[in-house]
């Protein structure tokens, strides 16, 4: 991995205000989770021994991630790649020895660090919020850690897909449009058969939801570990394969 290329990507981000969009990603999803808890009456049931308040926070995080992450991750990837199209960056970098595939990998690593950090912030802020408002049952930290880990993998898979799409298709309408369709799949994914949800990265948002109402009662769901690990392995392999092909293409 070319460390200088990664540092260069961080330098580009300052001008593109990527930090602002990453901050929006971190804050808006966390706020939505808190709002869901507020709207679901969690404040009146802080002493519920069956984790009612924690379940509403989990449910809110699932909803917020599905609603906001597909678009904002698409926007973040699109901004970081769009400048290479407008500034002829692919060609100028290739002539200095940095192939398009290497650039995509550098973009993924640099943006991936920020997206993973924003996702980790969701967990820290929401657990902190739950503790602060005085939920009497202890925070299910193991469940939180596993869910945030799964969301990091899903967000990174969506990011990798959008970096490749934005690099291949110059018209950013397509990239943002696909992000919008991804949002639909993430929100309405529960309606699709599980095998279909496994085929696209956005389908994993509903697959990994940790809490939802069954009748009038919110219940916990098990995390599909194998599916998430499969996404990480297959997604990573596909990303390396496609960027490897980019390396052998003319800029």
């Amino acid at each position: 991995m070319n460390a200088r290329a990664i540092m260069n990507e961080f330098a580009k981000m300052r001008h593109l205000r990527v930090g602002l969009f990453v901050a929006l990603l971190a804050i808006s999803v966390a706020l939505m989770s808190m709002y869901n808890a507020f709207g679901s009456g969690a404040f009146e049931r802080l002493d519920d021994p069956n984790d009612y308040a924690w379940k509403t926070l989990f449910g809110g995080l699932g909803m917020g991630a599905a609603l906001i992450a597909p678009i904002l991750v698409a926007v973040i990837a699109s901004r970081q790649v769009e400048i290479e199209h407008t500034g002829n960056g692919w060609l100028s970098s290739a002539t200095s020895g940095l192939t398009p595939g290497q650039m995509c990998r550098a973009k993924f690593v640099s943006l991936g660090v920020l997206v993973a950090a924003a996702t980790a912030v969701w967990g820290v802020v929401i657990v902190g919020f739950g503790t602060l408002i005085g939920i009497s049952t202890p925070a299910p930290l193991g469940r939180w850690a596993a869910y945030i880990g799964a969301l990091i993998i899903i967000n990174l898979a969506v990011l990798a897909f959008h970096i490749l799409l934005s690099a291949k298709v110059e018209n950013q309408l397509v990239c943002i449009g696909v992000g919008l369709v991804g949002m639909f799949l993430a929100i309405f994914g529960e309606l699709f058969p599980a095998w279909l949800a496994h085929l696209v990265p956005w389908g994993y948002y509903p697959l990994t939801v940790q809490s939802d109402y069954v009748g009038e009662v919110p219940v916990y769901f098990d995390l599909p570990y194998l599916s998430v690990i499969g996404l990480a392995v297959v997604g990573g392999a596909l990303f390396l394969f496609v960027t490897g092909r980019f390396d052998r293409q003319e800029a």
Binding site: F21, L24, I71, L72, A74, V75, T86, L173
Partner: protein, 256 residues
Amino acid sequence: MGSIISEFLKLKRSMSWSVVVLLPIIMVVAGSGSTIAVEGEFADGWHTLWVRSIGFYGMAILPVGIAILASLVWRVEHKNSNWNALMSRPVPTWQIVVGKIAAISILAAVMQIVLVAAVIALGKFLFGLPGMLPTDYLITSLLIIAAQVPVVAFQSALSTFARSFAAPVAIALVLTGASTMALLLKIPGVAMTPYALLTRTTQTGSATMLTGQGTSFDVSALTPDVVGVTIGLSAVLAVIVIAGTSIILNHTDTRT
């Protein structure tokens, strides 16, 4: 009129149709499909179908769609030296701004018409609902077309100054989310802002919401007062944004 026609000429081959046609159709199919999957029927007929089609669309998707259209319309001007060519035309700046807003507003209006057509088509032919979509929802749709204009003007302003295609879309998503949350929290005066006005208008007259079966914020009944206030407020907000954009543009230097 010439400005508007030229905008549509620029939009040829821009794939704007994909947003205008596909976005509302996907929303109606997703909203109605989820209702059938979960509840098995439309309990209140056309009213349920309408609220499931427009509810989430108005709270999150519609402003994002408008933002994409605004980015599309301004995209060509940010390429090569088109910006300087546009700004050196022998017409007042406000006319250029209004031309862009008119073009985006027409596309947004068509989007609403497609949504209504999709609701009627699915309700009538796929789900076999008796009767027809109540007229109130057609009037609400006309109101939505009016309430879209301030959001169109604001998104057009964002896309005027931001060269990035994606950034204004992200801002639309965040502002819509914040407005919807503010409406749900019943923060006073929020309905006078463009995004909240549009979101609130999309739910106007929704019978399911008015009878308290919805899970949403306070919904206005479709009355002459509401129609008048919505149209008046939309006009005022649009004029403010157009004036602001024109003034800033008049003080903006050429671009390289």
